[in-house]
Structure formats: structure tokens, C-alpha cells
Amino acid sequence: MTATLEKVPAQPAGTFATPGRRRRSRTGLPLRAPSGLSLGLVVLWLSLLVLLPLAAVVGKAFGSGWHGFWSAITNSVTADALKLSIGLALAAALVNALLGTLVAWVLVRDRPRGGGAFELVIDIPFALPTIVAGVVMLALYGSNGVGPTLFGTWLGLFITLLFVTLPFTVRTVQPVLLDLDKDAEQAAASLGARPATVFRRIVLPQIVPAVASGATLSFARALGEYGSLVLISSNLPHHNLIVSSLIYGKLQDTSSHATQQAAAIATVLLVVSALVLVALDLLQRRIARRG
């Protein structure tokens, strides 16, 4: 049967006309004394804690000019280490975004028997000191380990990174999934959406900010990971030397420009982290808006 649509008379409840889109505008009120004080405190705190150290590193990196900076990061050993670390961190972030979301989904929606045990297992990498994680990996994948020998291989490094970053996406996505309105998914289904469409258009846009923030955390952690990797890697330049290990090595080095070179490499990591942060945020906004 077809529904004929005509305007129903009489105005229903709660219609107050404010046409068009509204934009949040600044109120323009001056700050009151207490809020001015607390704002000042926050700025001071952030400056001392974050901005000052960052500025110091960047300053040090350019201590012998642009040329010194450029040669420090473009020499083949550094470039290879940077490529390896950034590549591994990106891959770990990607895998975590997918599998971490899946783990969170299963825990929230399927409520498996022994879910409590799962929760505990997921948190273990958080609780372990990283050097212990390194020993664990060595016991499994080392040359005398019980598992296949992955000592010094990219795969070994990658698995170790996945181990230490496992909880990030799970723990950011889980609470958002718990909060989702299941009625909305059922409404979409009754409007004709197949399950995959419901996920893509209703669930995904709502969880993608959490997935992105989990992936960002994973990436940052993986990029700077040292303790757990230094044991499973043989720290061979061009082969399996990761960038955090390289920075450590530079600092042990007594040659004249070593500290400046370490700061230059650190600055690159800083910029890459910031770029990934911005890129994931943009991506996340895009998906959340699309629906």
C-alpha cells in the first residue's frame, strides 16, 4: 500500500523556529579572576612539562645549523633505522586498529564465557615492565627459545611491538561500544540495512574516534619502544637497528656531534608523531561525518 502524505493541521509540541544551521559563537565575556588564574597555571604547567623540553631538543638538534641536522638524519644508518621504526610502528597501529576493535567487539557484544580472564590477559602487557616483555619474547623466540627463532628479524620486532601495544585500542574502543545505542542498529536494520551496512554506517562512525585514538597511542608507543625490543633485536645497522636503540647508542658515543645527532633524530620522531596525530584526527573526522 502506498502512503499518501499531506500536511497534518495544527502545530505539534515543542517547535520553536530557529532556522538554519547554528554555529557556536564566542560569548566574548572577559575571564573572571579565578578562571584567569587557573588558565595561567595550566599554561605554565604545560610549558614547563611539555613545551620547554621539546624546545630544548629541537634547539639542540639545530645546534650546528641546518646542515648538521640534515646530515644527521640522512646518513644511511639513521635513515634505515628511521624507516624501520616508523614502518613497524605504522604497521602495529594498523593491526591494532583492526584486531583491537575486534577484541573489544567480542568482549562487549558476545560476552564470551571467561570474559574476565580475557580482560586480565589484555592488561598484562600494560602491567609488565618493558624489559620483562623483552625477556618473555626472548624466551619464546630467542635462539634457544621454545618457539620458532625470530631473534633479530623484523617479524620478531613486530610481534614484540604488537604484544606491548595490544591493550591500547581494546581499552579505548571498549567503553564506546558499551555505550552504543543498540536500538539505533535495530532501527537501521528495520530500515533495510544489511548487517555490514549497519556496521559501516551506524557503528563505525561512532567508534572511529576511539579506534583512531587507540591507534595513535599504539603508534606513539611503538615508535619510541626500547626496553622490549633491545633484547630481540641484534641492533645491527641497516638490518634490525631500531631508532630508539640508535639514539641510545649516540648518547653513549663520545664523539663531538653525537648528542646533536641524537637530538636531530629525536626531532624527526617528534614531527612524525605530530603528523600521525593530525592525519588520524583528520581521517577520523571524515569517517565520523560520512555515516
Binding site: 495544527a10 509540541a13 515543542g14 528495520s190 533495510g192
Partner: protein, 319 residues
Amino acid sequence: MGIEVRGIAKRFGDFVALDDVDLRVQSGALTALLGPSGGGKSTLLRIVAGLEKPDAGSVEIDGQDATRLAPRHRDVGFVFQHYAAFTHLSVFRNVAFGLEIRKRPKDEIRRRVYELLELVHLEQFADRLPAELSGGQRQRMALARALAVEPKVLLLDEPFGALDAKVRKELRDWLRRLHDEVHVTTVFVTHDQEEALEVSDEIVVINNGRIEQVGSPDDLYDKPGNQFVMSFLGPVTTLSGRLVRPHDIEVFTVPADDAVRAQVNRLQRVGFEVRAEMVTGTDAATTVQLTRGQSEALNLTEGVAVWLRPVPNSTGLTV
């Protein structure tokens, strides 16, 4: 045409939500499923929509067996108590959702969505997010969204349950008028007997997983099949061992045929009406509802003796 369910049963663990329910819903009618919470009415509605699987029985929608169909293949519009808005999408995109799924041309979607937004008086809110609407507006958006796909049946689960009393009443009148315009077979769940009596063409009273009675609002009010239906649809009191309506009792100040003697225990005035609590020999207490004028004409005061009898041909059930 319409909806036909046969032998529907549903348990949640040990709890029997529905027990062998048969029901025919007429095509084009506005039907209320009325009953106390936990009685099974929402479960029945969700089974018709395919959102819940029955343990036994069959569902037919518009002459087609739908028992095993997924919700998306049932051509059903569903409106939830708590709106189930797509919070990340604008009002326009919410209403357009079902049409986008059906891959209708862009300009057709646009035309149809604005037609519906006009129908539910939300045309100036098209670009808002659901969070920027009031509860009543959100529910009207949900209704437009459900109607957009031209469903064979429209199902509403306590649609006004989350709204305050005033908005609730307005939306109720508005739903009735909307139905008179759109004529889509509509079933709504409510626990509010006033809502059911006021809005629907037919009422199905459900309690403890069973259908107690089906009929027009007047039928159910005037000829209730049992005590549950009688007491659920309106106020009741007992007089001489019979269940009667408090407004169906005649009061005399002198003895009359078949009238029982009683004493006025308490008088309470509520606006234009007066509620009198009477004590007879046989009943615990009989409540009588009078107009203020009646009460004054009889000169009722607490403690006086009166004689009571049911209004001739009024509704009554032996307790």
C-alpha cells in the same frame, strides 16, 4: 492484508513472555497493544518486526509469511521508545537513511525527505543533529524516518513513554490525525489506558503473556470480558459483591428499590468532581464518583446515611 500472528510463544529463560498468542490486526487500522509492563506486548511487537525470534508460531505481514525473514526484508517501520536516533547524522540524513539504502535517486530522496519533514513539522530543523532537538521533536523525526520507506506496517513501541505529560498528550492527538492522513496499518504499544482509548480503532489487552480481550475502545470499556480488563481500562470499585465503575453508582438520601444502605465515610473534592468513600455492610469500601452539582443537590456530608445502587444497564462483573 494487515498482520496475522499464530501460536506465538516466547520465553526468556524461565520467564514466559508470550504464551500461544493468536492475533489479527486489520489492514489500515490503528491498533493499541495495551497492558501492564512485563506483560509481553513489546515482545510481541518486536517479534512482528523481526527484532526478536519467537520460540514457536508464525507471523504473516500483508499476506506473506514473514516468520523467517530478517528485519530488513519485512517492510516494517519501527519507532522506539528512546528514539534510536542516528546521533552522528543530521535530521535530514536520519530520515533519508532508508531511501539511501534503497539507492533511490538523490533528487527523489531530497523531495521525499522534505515532504516527510513537513508532515512532522521539522522542515526547518533538517540540518540539525538529533541532540539539538527536544524529545518530542526527536520522536517525530523517528516517525518520519520510519515512514520514509513506505512500510507495509508501522510499529511503535511505547512511542511517547519517554516524554512529559503535556508533549505526550499533544503527540498522541497528532499521531491520530497523522494516521487519518497516511492510513498505514499501525500498531502501537502502551501501558496507558487513556492513550489507548483515545487514539486507537482497536485495543488488544495483553497480560501475563496472553491476550485478555480484543475490541474497540467502547466495547472494551462497556463490555469487559473479565475483571482484569475492566480494572485496567478504568477506575473500578465494588458494590454488593459486584465490580462496577465509580461513576455508574446512583446515590439516594432515602431508601430506594434494590439500593443498599451505606454511610459516607470521606468526601474528597477534586476540581469539578467529588469522590465519596462509602461504607456498606458487605464491601470493604465503595468509591462513588459524583459531579460537584450532584453532591451539593444531595447535601452529602461525612457521616450521613445514603442508599446506593448501580445505574441500570451499567457495566458490572460479579467478583
